[in-house]
Symmetry: C2
Subunit: 200 residues, 2 copies
DNA sequence: GGCTAAAGTGACCGAGCGGTCAACTTGGTA
DNA sequence: TACCAAGTTGACCGCTCGGTCACTTTAGCC
């Protein structure tokens, strides 16, 4: 509702997209320690231009992470009215774990503390995951003592697990996602030793 | 076999221990980005002293990580002849996951590439985990398609999962360890979509 | 085509980092 | 106690980083 924000000039709009794309690639390759100078170089602009579009590095990172959060939220929303709740959750969780290969959600915690837009996006995603989990639980596809927050937190476990091996086969994460999912199923579940964490 | 290494002078030995302790605390608080200057300050010595004991920052980190790896290896070895193989694996994995709360094994991959002593320690730990898993599998406590490497890689999953919440209850990791362990049990296991990774 | 505000540029800044070293202090020894 | 090698110190170096700004270039409008 604030900031009328009259439209960007054509070159500025183009450079903004180039920067976001460059940041995305650089972040995927080097992680959050990727430097602004490298991102600018990859985008083919000067360093000063980066700061014309994003006041700080954090703001640029928040923009990139925000895009991915939004995409994931959309993917989740699309599964909300799928006929089979168990399959819907599986579909979403697989897409999410795949995305986590490229983007470390861990840094999201720090980032969303200072960026209300990002924390709202995060909460929206959390809400959708919770809905998916509730439906799957009601259908008997996941055990009764699992919450949406649990699944939300476990989303990047497969990506993290794979990180430890030097040159991971590109689909290895699926193995560990499958193991975690087996742990979420009602069959053979044992009592959990700690209550589910509150959100946030 | 090399470097006879005559004993350290008393003050040097004391400072070395102070440095290792300070590095341990600083690393636990700030992670691998903790600075040498801060570590030196915490130990109550000058920065130059750090480099007299450890030629590079990597070497200091390797010393700290090495201590923890060795402790974990010992804990694992102690379970090798326990009467119940399933309980033995559970005991070890719990201790390891607890330790991972404080030390991010992810960096171990980078570190052990340049430090043969560290990579040997890592391989020893891997071998012990593999033995524990083999025994547990033979006893029917874990599913047949799980390898020691799988469990080795999954060791820090609970710690990573908990990292996403702002002020995690100190025992929350046990919840996610339990979920992963349920995924490792034979009951309700589904076929895994990717073969186990080779070691290393 | 000429004007102007918006956008782009790159040299520059200060802070913090890992690492060095000449000068100084000190523990162990004969 | 006198000596010296071992150990300590902190100023210093080179480098990289995020961020700034006076100046130049340019898109969009009449």
């Amino acid at each position: 509702m604030p900031t009328p924000t009259r439209p960007l000039r054509a070159d500025a709009a183009r450079n903004r997209e180039l920067l976001l794309a460059a940041a995305e690639e650089e972040l995927a390759e080097r992680g959050v320690d990727a430097s602004i100078a490298d991102i600018a170089r990859r985008a083919g602009v000067a360093k000063g231009t980066v700061f014309r579009h994003f006041a700080t590095k954090e703001e640029l990172l928040a923009a990139v992470f925000g895009n991915h959060l939004a995409a994931l939220t959309d993917a989740g929303a699309r599964q909300l009215d799928a006929p089979d709740p168990g399959a819907a959750l599986l579909e979403f969780v697989t897409a999410a774990a795949d995305a986590m290969q490229r983007y470390d959600l861990t840094y999201l915690r720090v980032l969303s503390q200072n960026d209300p837009r990002l924390s709202e996006l995060r909460d929206r995603l959390h809400a959708i995951v919770s809905s998916l989990v509730d439906r799957a639980r009601a259908a008997g596809a996941v055990r009764g003592d699992i919450t949406g927050t649990d699944v939300f937190l476990l989303l990047c476990a497969p990506a993290h697990t794979v990180e430890l091996v030097a040159d991971p086969p590109p689909d290895l994460w699926r193995r560990y996602l499958a193991i975690v999912l087996d742990g979420l199923r009602p069959e053979g579940a044992t009592a959990l030793p700690h209550p589910a964490p509150a959100w946030p």
